[in-house]
């Protein structure tokens, strides 16, 4: 279980967020190496690495990069998605707070490879500590000549800034992110055109997740083949996993792609807290379908999780115990999505509200049996009928809670009440981290 660490190597080194300590530990060497490679070679290396986007959708990073036009009349942009808002997800924060220079190094390499002039790291506004760490690191990098004009005498110019979000989950969607960067409300755009063609300020733009870009220096330093070997088919690399819920050691852990859910729960997180029995889990944020303990041996990979009936999403797993009411949880999540809907599409805006309402009624013991099929119908009407994937993010989990835990829903209806302990009466014991 004790793997060599890459993405999290600096997490335990005091002051690794400073340039001095980062460089003393080998930092900014990958950037120097990249400056001796041409863009095409770097893109090929990233393709070979099988690095999949770490923001949730898992799009192959090298392929995305190859979509960016080589020539452009407008300056090209790199926008880092650090909006980290998918419920259950808390990994990018560590990369920004504890190892900001590695992220900046990744941005510089990406910009060099792709001929990008300006970069913005879009950090959700609540993460003030991460914002300050990044801004401090950017300042240091400018002072050293790693950012700005004619970087290290290469003739390459690249400016990098932090852009603070202001509290809207939908800005995590890449075109909502771009709208918010441009100073507007974060309402997603119709695609196509994709950001690689028409993105920020009408210019070709690459949007990547924080962890995706923080992985780039390792690919340059150790090679695409090496990165691919740290994983399973089509899923390359070491990767960060989050574990939360009633477990002994919740937290962020690094493991190769393809690690199983059971390994993460038992070996890394120390298992469920004493007195708590595992009932269900979601593998990568609240937009994923819920899974049951018989799926614990599923491998964390985009294809393997899909075959197991859910999706890997952000790879931050939330575990739930037998005291957790699935109706109430589904209702709570439906309220989240209703609250976060940007309101452009009727099925998402109205549908999320209706779904939340029906779930509330069932939880309160006022549901009817036909409500269950009604819920499934409503999910079907939302899914695939919206501008962005937030619509699917309501439909997919809600449908899964109804289908996988149908008996529990029926029990609420038959008994006219919820028999689980109230949210506010759940605590049994604390974990080691506390």
């Amino acid at each position: 279980m004790m793997q060599e660490k890459y993405l999290s190597r600096n997490f335990d080194i005091p002051n690794a967020h400073t340039l001095e300590v980062f460089e003393a530990n080998g930092g900014y060497q990958a950037m120097r190496k990249a400056f001796k490679m041409d863009g095409e070679t770097i893109i090929e290396e990233v393709k070979t690495s099988n690095l999949r986007g770490r923001g949730g959708a898992g799009f192959p990073c090298g392929i995305k990069w190859s979509f960016l036009p080589k020539e452009s009349d407008l300056p090209k942009y790199l926008v880092i998605n650090a909006d980290e808002g998918e419920p259950g997800t808390f990994k990018d924060r560590y990369l920004m707070e504890l190892d900001p220079h590695r992220h900046i190094e990744g941005c510089i390499i990406a910009a060099w490879a792709l001929g990008i002039r300006y970069g913005y790291i879009f950090v959700r506004g609540e993460l003030q500590h991460a914002i300050r760490r990044l801004e401090g690191a950017i300042k240091e990098a400018y002072a050293k000549g790693y950012l700005g004009e004619n970087i290290l005498g290469t003739g390459f110019d690249f400016d990098l800034y932090v852009h603070p979000g202001a509290g809207a989950y939908i800005c995590g969607e890449e075109t909502g992110l771009i709208e918010a960067l441009e100073g507007k409300s974060g309402q997603p755009r119709m695609k196509p055109p994709f950001p690689a063609v028409v993105g920020a300020f009408q210019a070709p733009t690459i949007v990547n997740n924080v962890e995706t870009i923080s992985s780039i220096p390792w690919i340059i330093e150790k090679g695409g083949e090496w990165f691919a070997s740290m994983g399973v088919e089509k899923n390359g690399g070491p990767k960060l996993y989050g574990v939360s819920g009633p477990v002994v050691r919740p937290g962020v852990y690094e493991a190769p792609s393809g690690v199983t859910v059971r390994e993460l729960l038992e070996d890394y997180a120390g298992g469920m807290l004493p007195g708590h029995e595992l009932k269900a889990f979601i593998p990568g944020g609240s937009s994923c379908a819920v899974m049951t303990p018989d799926k614990l041996d599923s491998e964390m990979g985009f294809e393997t999780m899909r075959e197991a009936g859910s999706s890997m999403g952000t790879a931050c797993i939330t575990f739930m115990d037998t005291d957790t009411c699935m109706v109430r949880l589904a209702a709570r999540l439906a309220h989240f999505y209703h609250h976060e809907s940007c309101g452009q599409c009727t099925p998402c805006r109205e549908g999320s509200g209706w779904v939340a309402k029906v779930l509330d009624e069932i939880e309160a013991g006022r549901g009817r049996m036909e409500d269950l099929d009604l819920l499934l119908d409503m999910c079907g009407n939302i899914e695939g009928n919206t501008i962005c994937a937030l619509g699917d993010s309501i439909a997919i989990p809600v449908r899964s809670y109804v289908q996988v835990f149908r008996e529990e829903f029926e029990q609420h209806i038959k008994e006219g009440c919820c028999s689980f302990p109230a949210w506010s009466k759940r605590r049994k014991g604390s974990s080691e981290a506390a």
Binding site: T89, G125, E126, A166, A168, Y169, V252, T318, L333, S424
Partner: protein
Amino acid sequence: MAVEFSEKADAEFKELVSRYPNTLAAMLPVLHLAQREFGWISVEVMDYVAERLDVHPTKVLNAATFYTMYNKTPVGKCHVQVCTTLSCAIRGGYELIEHLEEKLGVKLGETRDDGAYTLSEAECLASCGTAPMFQVSYSDGEIEYFENLDDEARVNQVIEQLNTRLASLPDPRKMH
């Protein structure tokens, strides 16, 4: 008090605008700056931001209303926001709210009469591995996360810390 950036804020404003290809793009950071300066985002503040960015006031109104971090009415000196979305719901976020209501003397969704505290529910704050937790937005623009709050003694300690800080915080209602 007139709505106008202090000299220091004005310098920051100019630096922020220089980061973008147009002034509209500076909207979000400038609204954060304005909230830090003026305590909350009133119509008057929106008009001032529109004038400074040289954009139509409806653009500022759009942004100010779309994003939850901008307060369109004044909140307390300490805005305590408790996450109750997923892992926090499971690990005691709601229990934390009940405890805070009692200890801070304020109901969920309300501001205490003396303007010290506002207590609200928040959506996932990317702190699920250290659930339950809350975030405090102070009226001087600072934000602090308090995590692993499943120990009552620790919560009480944090409240002590907040109570001490109150004296040095401006009252948003009186900031402009």
